[in-house]
């Protein structure tokens, strides 16, 4: 049964399909914003299918095992988060104490795998990508964790299901002052976690030619792509559970779409930051605000 949850619903397969649809919405909306027609509905799935029939090339001077393993590990860990987050919605019996913290840790693994994999690729551009990703992780994790402390303080719980129950009774956490500040900051950090435009510094298509992903090809790149698709579903849903709950009716889908549109608009209206600017904004701009929101939360606002 656990295996079914992990592989089919709500784990890998369901999240993957939803992620593909979300990714299509993202690409289509981007195209419409730029007055283009945009890709057909099944395009994300065509891309994945194509990647899985391509040849795998492994650079000569790479560390083979790490290079090959990291996409698969990142994909596997994201599937676990998908299972945990999804089971909270369909079958609360499986939730356990502290799953919030487990989720945040597992959500960090794709970034770590990207750092490892691109560092092992033996390509200078890829190494630059790895180092940028490392700095980016260091900068956004701080603000992200600080903001996650707000709902924990407000509810005295570190269990997703209790957070949602709390919100069902007392209204969404984001409706309080400290909650809304923390929510906005986590949305910005989510953009960095997803590697979307103001923070797509490690990938940097135009200057690093794909950066961290440069040496990946075929199925290995496919695993990273699947990870990205799935993250596009999991992260917003995770944040909704924490800040904008409860998730139980059809309205929740609307909430998710709102969050997705916010992501897409941020992506389309911003230029890429330099890594220096990103660290500066996240540490000296957003982190103090996050601390203020914690103080407000302790004061009960």
């Amino acid at each position: 049964m656990i295996l079914f949850y992990y592989l089919v619903f709500p784990g890998f397969l369901a999240t993957f399909i939803l992620g593909g649809i979300a990714s299509w919405i993202e690409r289509k909306l981007t195209a419409r914003i730029q007055a283009r027609v945009g890709p057909p509905f099944l395009q994300p799935f065509y891309d994945i299918r194509k990647l899985f029939i391509k040849e795998v090339t492994i650079p000569e001077n790479s560390v083979r095992s790490i290079f090959m393993a990291s996409p698969i590990i990142s994909f596997a860990s994201v599937s676990i988060v998908a299972t945990i987050v999804g089971l909270n919605l369909v079958n609360p019996n499986y939730s356990f104490n502290g799953d919030l913290i487990v989720c945040v840790y597992l959500l960090l693994i794709p970034s770590l795998c990207l750092i490892l994999g691109s560092g092992a690729a033996g390509n200078p551009l890829s190494s630059i990508g790895a180092s940028r990703e490392m700095k980016l992780v260091l900068s956004y994790e701080l603000a992200f964790w600080t903001c996650l402390a707000v709902p924990m303080i407000k509810t005295n719980e570190i269990r997703l299901i209790s957070l949602m129950e709390f919100q069902a009774q007392n209204g969404a956490i984001a409706s309080s002052l400290s909650g809304i500040i923390a929510f906005i900051i986590t949305i910005i950090c989510m953009q960095a976690k997803l590697g979307k435009v103001p923070f797509d510094i490690p990938e940097a298509e135009t200057e690093l030619a794909g950066g961290a992903y440069i040496e990946y090809s075929g199925p290995l790149l496919g695993f990273f792509k699947i990870t990205q698709y799935m993250m596009l579903v999991i992260l917003p849903v995770f944040l909704l559970q924490i800040f904008w709950g409860p998730i139980n009716s059809w309205v929740s889908i609307l909430k998710y779409l709102v969050l997705l549109v916010v992501i897409i608009l941020l992506e389309n209206t911003n230029p890429r930051l330099k890594i220096k600017q990103a660290v500066k904004t996240l540490w000296f701009g957003l982190f103090p605000v996050a601390v203020v929101s914690i103080i407000l939360a302790v004061l009960g606002l």
């Binding site: 690409r27 195209a31 730029q34 007055a35 283009r36 027609v37 945009g38 890709p39 057909p40 099944l42 395009q43 065509y46 891309d47 299918r49 194509k50 029939i53 391509k54 040849e55 795998v56 090339t57 298509e205 135009t206 690093l208 030619a209 794909g210 992903y213 440069i214 040496e215 990946y216 090809s217 075929g218 790149l221």
Partner: protein, 138 residues
């Protein structure tokens, strides 16, 4: 389903330029703009040859470029389609008699499609890519 058919739904192109006058390259970028919008067909420009399914080559190939082109072709994950764009890449064009020409693209690597024109128009480009797709899917 055969490989070509799967490939033809999502073609990621990589752009290689060696000694072109830069006009063909501008036309390639033009094909990706809202007016022509190649993303309708799932075609996307990528920055790394490792992600590419199709290599667009422009310009007459000079001596330095030739070794690079051969190298890129060798490390690219197959299947890979090669398209020569512009009169230069197809035959040498106006640079043909000059001393630093190393020959048209097909002297160095196998080419799947030729798109002539100086520069090749975006319409011709789309037509050429569609033909590659058709060739791939048979």
């Amino acid at each position: 389903m055969n490989k070509g058919k799967i490939l033809s739904r999502s073609i990621w192109v990589f752009h290689f330029c060696s000694g072109s006058c830069n006009n063909c390259d501008i036309e390639i970028l033009d094909a990706l703009t809202p007016r022509f919008d190649l993303e309708r067909f799932g075609i996307k420009l990528v920055g790394s040859i490792k992600h590419a399914d199709c290599m667009l080559v422009t310009g007459m190939i000079n001596k330095k470029g030739a070794t690079r082109l051969k190298f890129l072709y060798d490390i690219a994950p197959k299947p890979l389609a090669v398209v020569a764009i512009g009169a230069c890449a197809c035959s040498g064009g106006i640079f043909e008699p000059s001393y630093y020409t190393y020959g048209p693209v097909d002297k160095i690597i196998p080419v799947d499609a030729y798109i002539p024109g100086c520069p090749a128009r975006p319409e011709a480009l789309i037509d050429g890519i569609v033909k590659v797709v058709k060739k791939l899917s048979t």
